[in-house]
Symmetry: C2
Subunit: 240 residues, 2 copies
C-alpha cells in the first residue's frame, strides 16, 4: 500500500474551492470514488483522514470544500455563518456539491461511473442533498447528519442508495425529523436505510467533540459500528 | 465443518417443549449459544435452518418452541390463537423463554456464560421480551419483530445489547411503534440499535412470505443486509 494525496482546485463561477484527493498508488487503474463532505468546521484533518482511510480500502477518497479555498481554517463563528448561509440557500449548496463531485469524477484515479459520497454533521446534510438532486451516484452515507429537507427537490427521483447513521438522542436531528426523513426518502423512491443508535448524540464519530454542553458527544461503539456499516455499504455498492 | 443436530425437550411445569440444537462437531469445547425464536407459525424448518447457519459460524444454535411439543406443525389459525394468547400473557411467555434459554445453557456444546438470542416476527417480540426481563444475555436481535411492550417490565434494567432490524413499512410495527420502542429501551438503560429499511414490509427475511395482501413481503436486499448486521453484532458480542 502506498497512500498518496494531492490538493485539487475546482470552481463554481468565480468561486474557487480546494479538495484533497487520496488514493493508493499501489493499485492500478481507476477506482471507485468516495467524496467526503465536511462538518460545520470546513475541510480539516478529520475529513482528510477519512479520505486516506478510504484510500487504504481501495477507493479514491476526496475531502471536499463547500466554503471556498480562502475560508479553509476559519474560526468557528465564521464557519457557522457560512454553514447557515448555505443551509438557507440549498440550490447554491447543491451546485457546489455537484461541482465537487465532477472534480472527483475528472481525476484519473477515479472510475467516473462509480462514485459515492459520505459526510459528517453538516456534511451529512450535504450528501443527502446530493442524493436529493437525483444525481446518479451509487450511494451516500450520512454520519450524524442534519435532516432538514431542502425544499427544492420534492419532485425528484433519488437514484443513490442512502445510509443514514444516526444518534437517536441527537439534539440537532430529533426522532420526529428522522421519521420525516424516512417519509421524504420513501416518497422520492429511494433505497434507504436508517441506523439509529440509542443513547447517542451528535458528532459521535469525533473523539475531539466538546461534550460539555451535551450536544456533541463522542461515542466509541457508535463510531465503530457506523464505520463498519459504511464499509459494508460501500462494498455492496461497488462489489468490493 | 460437521454440523450436527439433536432435539431437546424442556419443561415449564407439566408443559413440554421441544427445541432443536445445532452445532459444529469439528469445534472442540463449548461455544457461544444463540437461541432462535420462531414466527407465528411455531418452530419450523425456517428457524432450524437459522440454527444450522449459526452452527456453521461457530456458535451453537437452538431453535426453540414456545407453543408446546404437541403443537409443532399446527395449522395457521391455531398458531395465531396460541400467539395471541401468549401476546396477552407476557409473564407466561417470558417464563417459557427463560426455560428455553436455560435448556440452551445446560448443553455441553454451550458456554453458559455466553448466550444470546435472535428471533423473527413474533420471535422478535420474544427476544425483546427476554431482554426486557433483565436476563443477563449478551445480546438479542429482532428481525421484523413486533414491538408492543409487555407492560410488566417497565422498572427493569436491560443488560442485553439490542439490535432491531425493521422494515419501515411493516404494517405490524409502525413508525410510531418504532419511536416508542426506542423510548422504552432508552428508559431501561439498554445499549440498543434500530436499523430501519425503507420500502420494506413484514417478514422480509422469508422467501416464502405470501405477498398477496401486502403485509408480509420478502425483500432480498433487506434479508441480506439484516443478516450481515446480525453477523457483525454477534461477532461484537462474542469477539468472534
Amino acid at each position: 500500500m502506498s497512500i498518496k494525496t494531492r490538493l485539487i482546485d475546482y470552481r463554481d463561477g468565480d468561486f474557487v474551492f480546494e479538495g484533497m484527493l487520496a488514493w493508493d498508488d499501489a493499485i492500478e487503474g481507476p477506482r471507485p470514488g468516495v467524496l467526503v463532505a465536511h462538518t460545520i468546521r470546513g475541510r480539516s484533518k478529520f475529513e482528510e483522514g477519512k479520505a486516506e482511510l478510504l484510500a487504504g480500502m481501495g477507493y479514491t477518497g476526496f475531502a471536499i470544500d463547500v466554503y471556498g479555498k480562502d475560508a479553509i481554517g476559519s474560526e468557528f463563528d465564521d464557519c457557522r455563518e457560512m454553514m447557515e448561509s448555505l443551509r438557507n440557500q440549498r440550490a447554491v449548496l447543491q451546485r457546489r456539491l455537484l461541482r465537487a463531485l465532477q472534480a472527483l469524477r475528472d481525476q484519473p484515479e477515479v472510475d467516473a461511473s462509480r462514485v459515492s459520497a459520505i459526510g459528517y454533521c453538516f456534511g451529512g446534510l450535504c450528501v443527502l442533498d446530493i442524493a436529493r438532486t437525483g444525481e446518479p451516484v451509487a450511494g451516500v452515507v450520512s454520519f450524524h447528519g442534519l435532516f432538514d429537507p431542502p425544499g427544492n427537490t420534492g419532485g425528484n427521483r433519488i437514484q443513490a442508495r442512502i445510509l443514514a447513521l444516526h444518534g437517536w438522542d441527537d439534539p440537532l436531528a430529533t426522532p420526529d425529523q428522522a421519521v420525516a426523513l424516512a417519509r421524504e426518502l420513501t416518497a422520492m423512491g429511494a433505497d434507504w436505510q436508517l441506523h439509529g443508535y440509542g443513547n447517542v448524540r451528535h458528532a459521535f464519530t469525533n473523539p475531539a467533540a466538546d461534550a460539555s454542553t451535551g450536544v456533541t458527544v463522542y461515542n466509541e461503539s457508535a463510531n465503530r459500528r457506523s464505520w463498519a456499516a459504511a464499509q459494508y455499504f460501500l462494498s455492496e455498492l461497488f462489489d468490493t
